[in-house]
């Protein structure tokens, strides 16, 4: 059990999807402009990330690997994660009909999140057992959501700062993300 937890923490904090492996930075930046919708996008992309990487894992283990069609890997992953995103959105739209109408904007952010495909590919490459891969993807999802919500709150605070004109907007946000990435790099080797 403890190695499941350690892999999860490693994926969430030590080699964090966004700040250390630099996957899904576009969804991370676009989604974090307000704390409220940052939380919404974080929840949605976390669920999509977990579900998509697990299905991709099943896909490779059962179909692609035995029939050594590994070269088809990328196309299948993109197809699977795209359709999954749409499926999850439809399901959510039925369950919470009027609250998520605004989220048709988010569908691109969550669907096109490169972390989804990145994690799926890493899962096949790093030779971990099936349960360890599950821990890895759950950890990556939790890490992505945590860092995104934290960064959204940080951005809210940066908007009230008297930043010099040339640094306003994305410049100062990416500098802060850089400093946080430097700090997450310091956590290397924790597990």
């Amino acid at each position: 059990m403890t190695d499941f937890l350690s892999i999860l923490i490693a994926a969430a904090v030590v080699n964090n999807v966004v700040l250390v492996q630099f996957l899904g930075v576009s969804a991370f930046y676009a989604g974090s402009n307000g704390l409220k919708n940052a939380i919404e996008i974080a929840l949605l992309s976390a669920t999509v990330l977990i579900v998509a990487s697990l299905t991709n894992l099943l896909l490779t283990k059962t179909i692609l690997a035995p029939l050594n069609l590994m070269f088809l890997q990328l196309i299948c992953f993109v197809a699977v994660s795209g359709s999954l995103t749409v499926l999850i959105f439809q399901w959510l739209r039925q369950k919470f009909p009027d609250s998520l109408h605004r989220l048709h904007l988010h569908i691109i952010l969550v669907g096109g999140n490169s972390a989804v495909i990145g994690i799926s590919i890493l899962n096949t490459r790093n030779g971990l057992s099936f349960t360890e891969n599950i821990a890895n993807s759950i950890g990556a999802a939790v890490g992505f959501a945590l860092v995104m919500i934290g960064f959204a709150a940080l951005r809210q605070r940066l908007d009230t700062a008297d930043v010099p004109q040339s640094f306003r907007g994305p410049a100062i946000h990416l500098i802060s993300a850089g400093i946080v990435a430097m700090c997450f790099l310091g956590l290397a080797g924790l597990v």
Partner: protein, 198 residues
Amino acid sequence: MFPLIDTAYFQILAFTVLGVGIIWLILITFRYLKTESNKQQLSLIDQINALLPQTQCGHCGHPGCLPYARAISHGAAINQCPPGGKHTIQALSILLNQANEPLNPCHGEHTEPLVAVIREGECIGCTKCIQACPIDAILGGTKLMHTVIESECNGCDLCLEPCPVDCIDLIPRPGKQLRQWPLPSHIDVDQHNIGANP
């Protein structure tokens, strides 16, 4: 002696705390989505319309505020509403995530709230302004003297043009404009004019 972490008590305690924590997180997200969903969500057009000042004056080139809101939702420029002025444009730019440009002058200037006044002596009672007023703020019958209800009028100058005898003019809204404290004029610290010269 072995480190506390290996003792059974600690591990049971740690896992219960972890389990409770995760369940609590899931409950919160569902409660959040539930409250979020039964909160009455206005359609995009209604949200834009709620931000407009509802003077129905037509300065923005559309016959009223709702048509202008519909046009904005289809991509019209958000800085065409003089009565709304800076605040409306800022609110719209936040809602629609667009740039916050200043009011474009060809639609008119943002002025202090105005109110229409009829010079009763010259009014001939032709009821043209009553039909033109979008919010029925003018009283009067045919061939009888008309007058504007000052509390209801929103100063939208639609009644000025149809009046054959031009006896309506727009004056700044009376009533005591209480002096208020302005924000300290210097946000940058270098000018030293502390406090506000009256």
